[in-house]
Protein backbone atom coordinates (compact mmCIF):
# COMPACT_ATOMS: atom_id res chain seq x y z
CA UNK A 1 0.00 0.00 0.00
CA UNK A 2 2.90 2.31 -0.80
CA UNK A 3 0.68 4.92 -2.38
CA UNK A 4 -1.51 5.46 0.67
CA UNK A 5 -1.30 8.80 2.46
CA UNK A 6 -0.13 8.23 6.06
CA UNK A 7 -2.82 8.79 8.72
CA UNK A 8 -3.45 8.14 12.40
CA UNK A 9 -3.88 4.41 11.74
CA UNK A 10 -0.26 4.28 10.62
CA UNK A 11 0.81 6.11 13.78
CA UNK A 12 -1.20 3.63 15.80
CA UNK A 13 0.52 0.71 14.08
CA UNK A 14 3.95 2.26 14.73
CA UNK A 15 3.14 2.87 18.39
CA UNK A 16 1.87 -0.71 18.69
CA UNK A 17 4.91 -2.14 16.98
CA UNK A 18 7.52 -0.06 18.77
CA UNK A 19 5.79 0.09 22.18
CA UNK A 20 7.07 3.56 22.96
CA UNK A 21 6.80 4.84 26.49
CA UNK A 22 8.20 6.90 29.33
CA UNK A 23 10.75 4.98 31.41
CA UNK A 24 12.19 7.63 33.68
CA UNK A 25 10.94 10.78 35.36
CA UNK A 26 12.55 13.45 37.46
CA UNK A 27 11.50 16.63 39.18
CA UNK A 28 13.56 18.93 41.35
CA UNK A 29 12.29 20.98 44.25
CA UNK A 30 9.95 23.76 43.10
CA UNK A 31 9.33 27.23 44.40
CA UNK A 32 11.52 30.22 45.19
CA UNK A 33 15.03 28.84 44.80
CA UNK A 34 17.42 31.73 44.16
CA UNK A 35 21.00 31.32 43.06
CA UNK A 36 20.42 28.64 40.43
CA UNK A 37 20.44 29.01 36.66
CA UNK A 38 17.94 27.52 34.24
CA UNK A 39 20.62 25.05 33.09
CA UNK A 40 21.23 24.03 36.69
CA UNK A 41 17.55 23.04 37.01
CA UNK A 42 17.53 21.41 33.56
CA UNK A 43 20.55 19.25 34.30
CA UNK A 44 19.41 18.37 37.82
CA UNK A 45 16.01 17.19 36.57
CA UNK A 46 17.75 15.22 33.80
CA UNK A 47 20.02 13.50 36.32
CA UNK A 48 16.96 12.48 38.35
CA UNK A 49 15.18 11.11 35.26
CA UNK A 50 18.30 9.18 34.15
CA UNK A 51 18.66 7.71 37.66
CA UNK A 52 14.95 6.91 37.87
CA UNK A 53 15.27 4.94 34.62
CA UNK A 54 18.44 3.34 35.91
CA UNK A 55 20.43 4.04 32.76
CA UNK A 56 23.67 5.86 31.99
CA UNK A 57 23.85 9.37 30.65
CA UNK A 58 25.66 7.92 27.64
CA UNK A 59 22.63 5.74 26.82
CA UNK A 60 20.72 8.90 25.87
CA UNK A 61 20.95 9.57 22.13
CA UNK A 62 18.18 12.13 21.68
CA UNK A 63 17.53 15.44 23.43
CA UNK A 64 14.40 17.52 23.35
CA UNK A 65 14.31 20.74 25.33
CA UNK A 66 12.10 23.81 25.27
CA UNK A 67 13.29 27.34 25.97
CA UNK A 68 14.09 29.52 28.94
CA UNK A 69 12.15 32.66 29.77
CA UNK A 70 15.17 33.96 31.66
CA UNK A 71 18.23 32.85 29.75
CA UNK A 72 17.65 33.34 26.04
CA UNK A 73 19.53 30.95 23.81
CA UNK A 74 19.63 30.73 20.05
CA UNK A 75 19.80 26.90 19.99
CA UNK A 76 18.43 25.69 23.27
CA UNK A 77 18.62 21.90 22.78
CA UNK A 78 22.21 21.80 21.63
CA UNK A 79 23.29 24.35 24.23
CA UNK A 80 21.95 21.92 26.79
CA UNK A 81 23.48 18.88 25.08
CA UNK A 82 26.85 20.59 25.37
CA UNK A 83 26.22 21.61 29.00
CA UNK A 84 25.19 18.15 30.21
CA UNK A 85 27.74 16.27 28.11
CA UNK A 86 25.57 14.24 25.75
CA UNK A 87 26.31 13.84 22.05
CA UNK A 88 22.82 13.30 20.62
CA UNK A 89 21.89 11.82 17.25
CA UNK A 90 18.61 13.71 17.44
CA UNK A 91 17.99 17.14 18.96
CA UNK A 92 15.11 19.57 18.92
CA UNK A 93 13.96 22.64 20.85
CA UNK A 94 10.21 22.95 21.05
CA UNK A 95 8.79 26.39 21.69
CA UNK A 96 5.01 26.25 21.61
CA UNK A 97 4.42 27.72 25.06
CA UNK A 98 2.31 25.55 27.32
CA UNK A 99 1.80 22.97 24.58
CA UNK A 100 5.53 22.21 24.66
CA UNK A 101 5.88 19.51 27.33
CA UNK A 102 3.03 17.45 25.96
CA UNK A 103 4.41 17.66 22.45
CA UNK A 104 7.91 16.68 23.62
CA UNK A 105 6.52 13.20 24.26
CA UNK A 106 4.99 13.05 20.78
CA UNK A 107 8.12 14.45 19.12
CA UNK A 108 10.27 11.90 20.93
CA UNK A 109 8.00 9.12 19.67
CA UNK A 110 8.17 10.47 16.11
CA UNK A 111 11.97 10.60 16.32
CA UNK A 112 12.07 7.02 17.58
CA UNK A 113 9.54 5.80 15.00
CA UNK A 114 11.65 7.25 12.22
CA UNK A 115 14.88 5.71 13.49
CA UNK A 116 16.51 8.98 14.48
CA UNK A 117 17.05 8.08 18.13
CA UNK A 118 16.36 5.30 20.61
CA UNK A 119 16.48 6.95 24.03
CA UNK A 120 15.20 10.53 24.14
CA UNK A 121 15.65 12.81 27.12
CA UNK A 122 12.94 15.51 27.34
CA UNK A 123 13.80 18.21 29.83
CA UNK A 124 12.75 21.63 30.92
CA UNK A 125 13.94 23.85 33.73
CA UNK A 126 13.89 27.50 34.49
CA UNK A 127 14.52 30.02 37.23
CA UNK A 128 11.39 31.94 36.28
CA UNK A 129 10.50 33.22 39.75
CA UNK A 130 13.99 34.34 40.70
CA UNK A 131 14.87 35.45 37.19
CA UNK A 132 11.73 37.28 36.06
CA UNK A 133 9.35 37.50 39.06
CA UNK A 134 5.54 37.45 39.08
CA UNK A 135 5.36 41.05 37.88
CA UNK A 136 7.50 40.06 34.90
CA UNK A 137 5.09 37.24 34.11
CA UNK A 138 2.13 39.64 34.21
CA UNK A 139 3.92 41.62 31.49
CA UNK A 140 4.95 38.48 29.59
CA UNK A 141 1.83 39.01 27.50
CA UNK A 142 4.11 41.20 25.40
CA UNK A 143 5.49 37.98 23.91
CA UNK A 144 2.09 36.45 23.22
CA UNK A 145 -0.14 39.30 22.08
CA UNK A 146 0.13 41.62 19.11
CA UNK A 147 2.79 44.24 19.76
CA UNK A 148 1.10 46.73 17.50
CA UNK A 149 -2.65 46.18 17.78
CA UNK A 150 -3.11 44.69 21.25
CA UNK A 151 -0.30 45.44 23.68
CA UNK A 152 -0.58 49.26 23.53
CA UNK A 153 -4.05 48.97 25.08
CA UNK A 154 -2.57 47.75 28.34
CA UNK A 155 -3.45 44.06 28.05
CA UNK A 156 -1.84 41.94 30.78
CA UNK A 157 -1.25 38.19 30.81
CA UNK A 158 -4.17 37.58 33.21
CA UNK A 159 -6.16 40.11 31.17
CA UNK A 160 -5.86 38.05 28.00
CA UNK A 161 -7.40 35.04 29.72
CA UNK A 162 -9.87 37.27 31.55
CA UNK A 163 -11.30 38.38 28.20
CA UNK A 164 -12.13 34.77 27.41
CA UNK A 165 -13.31 34.05 30.96
CA UNK A 166 -15.75 36.97 30.80
CA UNK A 167 -17.14 35.76 27.48
CA UNK A 168 -17.33 32.18 28.79
CA UNK A 169 -19.35 33.25 31.83
CA UNK A 170 -21.63 35.30 29.57
CA UNK A 171 -22.28 32.46 27.14
CA UNK A 172 -22.71 29.75 29.77
CA UNK A 173 -24.63 31.99 32.20
CA UNK A 174 -21.92 31.01 34.62
CA UNK A 175 -20.62 32.69 37.75
CA UNK A 176 -17.22 33.52 39.18
CA UNK A 177 -17.46 30.56 41.56
CA UNK A 178 -17.26 28.25 38.54
CA UNK A 179 -13.80 29.54 37.72
CA UNK A 180 -12.55 29.83 41.29
CA UNK A 181 -13.57 26.25 42.17
CA UNK A 182 -10.83 24.98 39.90
CA UNK A 183 -8.26 26.85 42.00
CA UNK A 184 -9.74 25.45 45.22
CA UNK A 185 -9.46 21.85 43.97
CA UNK A 186 -5.91 22.40 42.71
CA UNK A 187 -4.93 23.66 46.16
CA UNK A 188 -6.42 20.56 47.80
CA UNK A 189 -4.28 18.41 45.51
CA UNK A 190 -1.12 20.49 46.02
CA UNK A 191 -1.35 19.88 49.77
CA UNK A 192 -0.65 16.23 48.99
CA UNK A 193 2.29 16.86 46.67
CA UNK A 194 5.69 17.03 48.39
CA UNK A 195 7.28 19.69 46.21
CA UNK A 196 4.21 21.90 45.67
CA UNK A 197 4.85 25.58 46.30
CA UNK A 198 1.42 26.71 47.54
CA UNK A 199 -0.12 24.53 50.23
CA UNK A 200 -1.96 27.05 52.41
CA UNK A 201 -5.69 26.56 52.89
CA UNK A 202 -7.74 28.18 50.14
CA UNK A 203 -11.53 28.39 50.14
CA UNK A 204 -14.01 29.74 47.64
CA UNK A 205 -14.74 32.59 50.07
CA UNK A 206 -11.05 33.48 50.27
CA UNK A 207 -11.07 33.94 46.50
CA UNK A 208 -14.38 35.80 46.35
CA UNK A 209 -13.13 38.19 49.02
CA UNK A 210 -9.85 39.00 47.32
CA UNK A 211 -9.50 41.87 44.87
CA UNK A 212 -9.85 41.39 41.15
CA UNK A 213 -6.72 41.56 39.04
CA UNK A 214 -8.48 41.58 35.67
CA UNK A 215 -12.20 40.93 35.92
CA UNK A 216 -13.42 38.23 36.44
CA UNK A 217 -10.03 36.84 37.53
CA UNK A 218 -8.23 37.20 40.85
CA UNK A 219 -4.64 36.25 41.59
CA UNK A 220 -5.89 32.81 42.63
CA UNK A 221 -7.14 32.20 39.09
CA UNK A 222 -3.59 32.70 37.82
CA UNK A 223 -0.87 30.08 37.80
CA UNK A 224 1.99 30.56 40.19
CA UNK A 225 5.52 31.42 39.09
CA UNK A 226 8.28 29.09 40.26
CA UNK A 227 11.88 27.97 39.86
CA UNK A 228 12.55 24.32 39.15
CA UNK A 229 13.09 21.57 36.64
CA UNK A 230 11.45 18.38 35.38
CA UNK A 231 12.43 15.73 32.86
CA UNK A 232 11.37 12.40 31.41
CA UNK A 233 12.88 9.76 29.18
CA UNK A 234 11.16 8.17 26.21
CA UNK A 235 12.22 4.90 24.60
CA UNK A 236 10.83 1.59 23.31
CA UNK A 237 9.98 -1.46 25.40
CA UNK A 238 12.66 -3.46 23.59
CA UNK A 239 15.34 -0.84 24.20
CA UNK A 240 14.27 -0.55 27.83
CA UNK A 241 14.76 -4.31 28.19
CA UNK A 242 18.15 -4.12 26.49
CA UNK A 243 19.22 -1.38 28.92
CA UNK A 244 18.06 -3.45 31.86
CA UNK A 245 15.30 -1.05 32.90
CA UNK A 246 13.26 -3.00 35.43
CA UNK A 247 10.08 -0.98 35.64
CA UNK A 248 7.45 -1.21 32.88
CA UNK A 249 7.25 1.86 30.66
CA UNK A 250 4.16 4.08 30.70
CA UNK A 251 3.11 3.79 27.08
CA UNK A 252 2.17 6.48 24.60
CA UNK A 253 -1.19 5.64 23.01
CA UNK A 254 -1.95 8.72 20.96
CA UNK A 255 -1.16 12.33 20.19
CA UNK A 256 -2.61 15.32 18.39
CA UNK A 257 -2.40 19.07 17.92
CA UNK A 258 -4.92 21.81 17.21
CA UNK A 259 -4.57 25.53 16.49
CA UNK A 260 -7.06 28.32 17.06
CA UNK A 261 -5.32 31.71 16.80
CA UNK A 262 -2.26 33.51 18.06
CA UNK A 263 -3.83 36.88 18.70
CA UNK A 264 -7.19 37.26 20.42
CA UNK A 265 -8.08 39.73 17.66
CA UNK A 266 -8.10 36.70 15.31
CA UNK A 267 -10.37 34.61 17.52
CA UNK A 268 -13.84 34.65 15.96
CA UNK A 269 -15.63 33.07 18.90
CA UNK A 270 -15.35 30.43 21.61
CA UNK A 271 -16.28 27.75 19.06
CA UNK A 272 -12.99 28.39 17.30
CA UNK A 273 -11.16 27.57 20.54
CA UNK A 274 -13.33 24.55 21.32
CA UNK A 275 -12.68 23.37 17.76
CA UNK A 276 -8.90 23.54 18.18
CA UNK A 277 -9.04 21.62 21.47
CA UNK A 278 -11.36 19.04 19.94
CA UNK A 279 -9.10 18.59 16.89
CA UNK A 280 -6.12 18.02 19.16
CA UNK A 281 -7.98 15.54 21.35
CA UNK A 282 -9.73 13.75 18.53
CA UNK A 283 -6.50 12.86 16.77
CA UNK A 284 -5.09 11.49 20.02
CA UNK A 285 -8.26 9.50 20.78
CA UNK A 286 -8.41 8.08 17.25
CA UNK A 287 -4.78 7.01 17.39
CA UNK A 288 -5.37 5.36 20.75
CA UNK A 289 -8.62 3.78 19.60
CA UNK A 290 -10.48 5.11 22.62
CA UNK A 291 -13.04 7.79 23.47
CA UNK A 292 -13.12 10.79 25.76
CA UNK A 293 -15.15 8.75 28.25
CA UNK A 294 -12.39 6.15 28.82
CA UNK A 295 -9.89 8.49 30.50
CA UNK A 296 -9.16 7.53 34.11
CA UNK A 297 -7.11 10.54 35.16
CA UNK A 298 -6.95 13.87 33.37
CA UNK A 299 -4.22 16.52 33.21
CA UNK A 300 -5.23 19.83 31.67
CA UNK A 301 -3.32 23.04 31.26
CA UNK A 302 -4.41 25.21 34.17
CA UNK A 303 -2.32 28.32 33.58
CA UNK A 304 -5.56 30.14 34.42
CA UNK A 305 -8.76 28.64 35.79
CA UNK A 306 -10.64 29.40 32.57
CA UNK A 307 -8.38 27.23 30.37
CA UNK A 308 -9.29 24.15 32.40
CA UNK A 309 -13.00 24.70 31.79
CA UNK A 310 -12.56 25.33 28.06
CA UNK A 311 -10.41 22.19 27.74
CA UNK A 312 -12.81 19.95 29.67
CA UNK A 313 -15.54 21.02 27.27
CA UNK A 314 -13.44 21.10 24.10
CA UNK A 315 -12.20 17.57 24.74
CA UNK A 316 -15.79 16.47 25.35
CA UNK A 317 -15.07 15.20 28.87
CA UNK A 318 -18.07 17.24 30.00
CA UNK A 319 -20.72 18.80 27.71
CA UNK A 320 -20.27 22.41 26.58
CA UNK A 321 -21.20 24.89 29.25
CA UNK A 322 -21.10 22.33 32.05
CA UNK A 323 -17.47 22.40 33.17
CA UNK A 324 -17.96 25.27 35.61
CA UNK A 325 -20.76 23.45 37.41
CA UNK A 326 -18.63 20.28 37.44
CA UNK A 327 -15.80 22.21 39.10
CA UNK A 328 -18.13 23.78 41.66
CA UNK A 329 -19.61 20.38 42.51
CA UNK A 330 -16.08 19.12 43.30
CA UNK A 331 -16.04 16.64 40.45
CA UNK A 332 -12.42 17.50 39.58
CA UNK A 333 -11.15 16.26 42.95
CA UNK A 334 -8.91 13.18 42.92
CA UNK A 335 -11.61 11.09 44.61
CA UNK A 336 -14.44 12.26 42.34
CA UNK A 337 -15.43 11.15 38.85
CA UNK A 338 -13.09 13.44 36.82
CA UNK A 339 -9.82 13.43 38.79
CA UNK A 340 -7.86 16.39 37.42
CA UNK A 341 -4.25 17.50 37.94
CA UNK A 342 -3.74 15.42 41.05
CA UNK A 343 -0.39 17.17 41.67
CA UNK A 344 -1.97 20.61 42.11
CA UNK A 345 -1.26 21.88 38.62
CA UNK A 346 0.12 25.20 37.55
CA UNK A 347 -2.28 26.94 39.92
CA UNK A 348 -0.72 25.53 43.10
CA UNK A 349 2.17 23.09 42.54
CA UNK A 350 4.60 24.72 40.11
CA UNK A 351 4.74 26.32 36.68
CA UNK A 352 7.00 24.63 34.20
CA UNK A 353 4.59 24.31 31.33
CA UNK A 354 2.96 20.89 31.48
CA UNK A 355 6.16 19.06 32.48
CA UNK A 356 4.76 18.17 35.88
CA UNK A 357 1.47 17.12 34.30
CA UNK A 358 3.37 14.50 32.29
CA UNK A 359 5.44 13.43 35.30
CA UNK A 360 2.34 13.09 37.50
CA UNK A 361 0.51 11.13 34.78
CA UNK A 362 3.40 8.66 34.81
CA UNK A 363 3.34 8.44 38.63
CA UNK A 364 -0.42 7.81 38.55
CA UNK A 365 -0.15 5.09 35.91
CA UNK A 366 2.74 3.46 37.78
CA UNK A 367 0.60 3.51 40.91
CA UNK A 368 3.26 5.55 42.70
CA UNK A 369 1.29 8.73 43.43
CA UNK A 370 1.06 8.04 47.16
CA UNK A 371 -1.69 9.97 48.91
CA UNK A 372 -2.75 11.40 45.56
CA UNK A 373 -3.19 8.02 43.91
CA UNK A 374 -6.35 7.62 41.88
CA UNK A 375 -7.81 4.12 42.14
CA UNK A 376 -6.02 1.84 39.61
CA UNK A 377 -6.01 4.07 36.52
CA UNK A 378 -5.07 2.49 33.21
CA UNK A 379 -5.24 5.56 30.97
CA UNK A 380 -4.30 9.22 31.38
CA UNK A 381 -4.82 12.24 29.17
CA UNK A 382 -2.43 15.20 29.19
CA UNK A 383 -3.34 18.38 27.35
CA UNK A 384 -1.21 21.49 27.01
CA UNK A 385 -2.01 24.87 25.54
CA UNK A 386 0.32 27.60 24.44
CA UNK A 387 -0.52 31.27 23.99
CA UNK A 388 -3.95 32.41 25.10
CA UNK A 389 -5.65 29.05 24.57
CA UNK A 390 -4.14 29.24 21.09
CA UNK A 391 -1.99 26.20 20.37
CA UNK A 392 -3.02 22.81 21.71
CA UNK A 393 -1.44 19.41 22.10
CA UNK A 394 -2.84 16.23 23.61
CA UNK A 395 -1.30 12.88 24.50
CA UNK A 396 -2.87 9.73 25.84
CA UNK A 397 -0.84 7.44 28.06
CA UNK A 398 -1.54 3.91 29.29
CA UNK A 399 0.04 1.42 31.65
CA UNK A 400 -0.27 -1.35 29.07
CA UNK A 401 1.14 -1.31 25.54
CA UNK A 402 -1.28 -0.19 22.84
CA UNK A 403 -3.10 -3.25 21.51
Amino acid sequence: MGTQIPNVDDTRELLKKNQIGIVGIGETEQGKIPGKSSFDFLSHASKLAIEDAGILKSDVDGIITAFSLVEETFMHCTTFADYIGINPKYFESIAIGGATAVWMTAAAAMAINSGQAEVVLCARGDNTLSGISSAGMIALIREMCHGEFEYPFGLTTPGGYALLAQRYLYETKGKREHLHSVAVTMRQHAKLKENAMNKDDLSLDDILNTRLLASPLTKYDCSIVTDGGAAFIVTTKAKAKELGIKRDPVYLHGMGQGFSHQYLTSCADLNQIYGAIETSGEKAFKTAGMTNQNVDVTFLYDCFTITTLLELEGLGIVPRGHAGAAALEGRLHKDADIPLNTHGGLLSQAHLGAMHHVVEAVLQLRGEAGERQVKSPSTALVHGNGGIVSAHSTILLGNEPLS
Binding site: P152, A165, C267
Partner: protein
Protein backbone atom coordinates in the same frame (compact mmCIF):
# COMPACT_ATOMS: atom_id res chain seq x y z
CA UNK B 1 7.20 76.84 20.18
CA UNK B 2 4.39 74.61 21.26
CA UNK B 3 3.67 73.96 24.90
CA UNK B 4 5.74 71.13 26.33
CA UNK B 5 3.58 68.02 26.69
CA UNK B 6 4.01 65.33 29.31
CA UNK B 7 5.73 62.47 27.60
CA UNK B 8 3.52 59.44 26.85
CA UNK B 9 4.72 56.67 29.16
CA UNK B 10 2.60 53.69 28.12
CA UNK B 11 3.63 51.14 25.49
CA UNK B 12 3.55 52.42 21.92
CA UNK B 13 2.89 50.21 18.91
CA UNK B 14 5.72 48.13 17.50
CA UNK B 15 5.21 49.20 13.92
CA UNK B 16 5.56 46.93 10.95
CA UNK B 17 6.02 48.99 7.78
CA UNK B 18 3.05 47.38 6.03
CA UNK B 19 0.58 48.89 8.52
CA UNK B 20 1.48 52.52 7.81
CA UNK B 21 -1.83 53.39 6.08
CA UNK B 22 -3.72 52.37 9.23
CA UNK B 23 -1.70 54.68 11.47
CA UNK B 24 -1.77 57.47 8.89
CA UNK B 25 -5.56 57.10 9.04
CA UNK B 26 -5.88 57.30 12.82
CA UNK B 27 -3.63 60.37 12.81
CA UNK B 28 -6.31 62.00 10.64
CA UNK B 29 -8.97 60.60 13.00
CA UNK B 30 -10.15 58.05 10.47
CA UNK B 31 -10.50 54.35 11.22
CA UNK B 32 -9.28 52.61 8.07
CA UNK B 33 -9.56 48.87 7.50
CA UNK B 34 -7.60 46.89 4.93
CA UNK B 35 -9.78 45.23 2.29
CA UNK B 36 -8.52 42.27 0.26
CA UNK B 37 -8.90 43.12 -3.43
CA UNK B 38 -9.35 39.47 -4.35
CA UNK B 39 -12.03 38.41 -1.88
CA UNK B 40 -13.51 41.87 -1.42
CA UNK B 41 -13.53 41.33 2.36
CA UNK B 42 -12.16 43.59 5.08
CA UNK B 43 -9.94 42.14 7.79
CA UNK B 44 -8.09 43.11 10.93
CA UNK B 45 -5.23 43.29 11.98
CA UNK B 46 -3.47 44.81 8.94
CA UNK B 47 -0.74 42.66 7.40
CA UNK B 48 1.06 42.07 4.10
CA UNK B 49 -1.01 39.10 2.94
CA UNK B 50 -4.70 38.31 2.84
CA UNK B 51 -5.63 36.17 5.88
CA UNK B 52 -8.57 34.49 4.16
CA UNK B 53 -8.06 30.76 3.54
CA UNK B 54 -8.83 31.03 -0.17
CA UNK B 55 -6.43 33.89 -0.92
CA UNK B 56 -2.72 34.70 -1.04
CA UNK B 57 -3.45 38.18 -2.39
CA UNK B 58 -1.16 41.02 -1.36
CA UNK B 59 -3.16 43.86 -2.89
CA UNK B 60 -5.35 45.90 -0.58
CA UNK B 61 -7.39 49.02 -0.50
CA UNK B 62 -8.14 50.89 2.70
CA UNK B 63 -11.78 51.56 3.48
CA UNK B 64 -13.19 53.74 6.21
CA UNK B 65 -14.94 51.84 9.00
CA UNK B 66 -18.34 52.83 10.35
CA UNK B 67 -16.48 53.19 13.64
CA UNK B 68 -19.39 51.52 15.39
CA UNK B 69 -19.68 48.13 16.97
CA UNK B 70 -20.35 46.30 20.17
CA UNK B 71 -18.34 44.87 23.00
CA UNK B 72 -17.69 41.15 22.36
CA UNK B 73 -15.85 40.75 25.62
CA UNK B 74 -13.99 42.94 28.09
CA UNK B 75 -11.91 42.85 31.25
CA UNK B 76 -11.58 45.62 33.79
CA UNK B 77 -7.85 45.81 34.49
CA UNK B 78 -6.94 46.72 38.06
CA UNK B 79 -3.24 46.22 37.35
CA UNK B 80 -1.40 47.14 34.18
CA UNK B 81 1.60 45.67 32.38
CA UNK B 82 3.98 48.53 33.19
CA UNK B 83 4.54 51.17 35.88
CA UNK B 84 2.82 53.77 33.72
CA UNK B 85 -0.55 52.19 34.61
CA UNK B 86 -0.05 52.47 38.38
CA UNK B 87 -3.29 53.33 40.15
CA UNK B 88 -5.33 53.21 36.97
CA UNK B 89 -8.46 51.12 36.45
CA UNK B 90 -9.20 50.67 32.75
CA UNK B 91 -11.11 48.44 30.37
CA UNK B 92 -9.47 46.28 27.72
CA UNK B 93 -12.07 44.99 25.28
CA UNK B 94 -12.51 43.10 22.06
CA UNK B 95 -14.89 45.10 19.93
CA UNK B 96 -16.89 43.53 17.12
CA UNK B 97 -17.18 46.28 14.53
CA UNK B 98 -20.30 46.41 12.39
CA UNK B 99 -17.86 46.05 9.46
CA UNK B 100 -17.42 42.43 10.58
CA UNK B 101 -13.97 42.49 12.17
CA UNK B 102 -12.73 42.39 15.75
CA UNK B 103 -10.36 44.93 17.27
CA UNK B 104 -8.76 45.16 20.67
CA UNK B 105 -9.00 48.55 22.33
CA UNK B 106 -10.02 50.41 25.47
CA UNK B 107 -13.55 51.47 26.38
CA UNK B 108 -13.20 55.06 27.57
CA UNK B 109 -15.34 57.99 28.69
CA UNK B 110 -17.38 55.83 31.08
CA UNK B 111 -17.19 54.13 34.46
CA UNK B 112 -15.02 51.03 33.77
CA UNK B 113 -17.32 48.88 35.85
CA UNK B 114 -20.36 49.90 33.78
CA UNK B 115 -19.12 48.14 30.64
CA UNK B 116 -21.06 45.05 29.57
CA UNK B 117 -20.88 42.50 26.79
CA UNK B 118 -23.07 43.59 23.88
CA UNK B 119 -22.78 47.29 24.76
CA UNK B 120 -22.91 49.51 21.65
CA UNK B 121 -19.75 51.56 21.24
CA UNK B 122 -18.27 54.05 18.78
CA UNK B 123 -14.77 55.09 17.94
CA UNK B 124 -12.98 58.06 19.53
CA UNK B 125 -9.46 59.06 18.69
CA UNK B 126 -6.76 59.63 21.29
CA UNK B 127 -3.63 61.43 20.17
CA UNK B 128 -0.88 59.82 22.25
CA UNK B 129 2.21 61.29 20.58
CA UNK B 130 3.07 63.26 17.43
CA UNK B 131 3.27 59.92 15.63
CA UNK B 132 0.60 57.81 17.23
CA UNK B 133 -3.16 58.23 17.51
CA UNK B 134 -5.13 55.35 19.00
CA UNK B 135 -8.62 54.32 17.98
CA UNK B 136 -10.50 53.81 21.24
CA UNK B 137 -14.20 53.31 21.89
CA UNK B 138 -16.87 54.92 24.05
CA UNK B 139 -20.42 53.84 24.79
CA UNK B 140 -23.03 55.15 22.33
CA UNK B 141 -25.26 57.51 24.31
Amino acid sequence: MSEEKIEYQKPLPDFRPETKPFWDGTKQHKLLLPKCKETGKVFFYPRAISPFPESVNRDFEWVESTGKGKVWTYSVHYMGPTRAYKGEVYVVALIELHDGVKMMSNIVECDPESVTIGMEVEVVFEDATEEVTFAKFKPVK
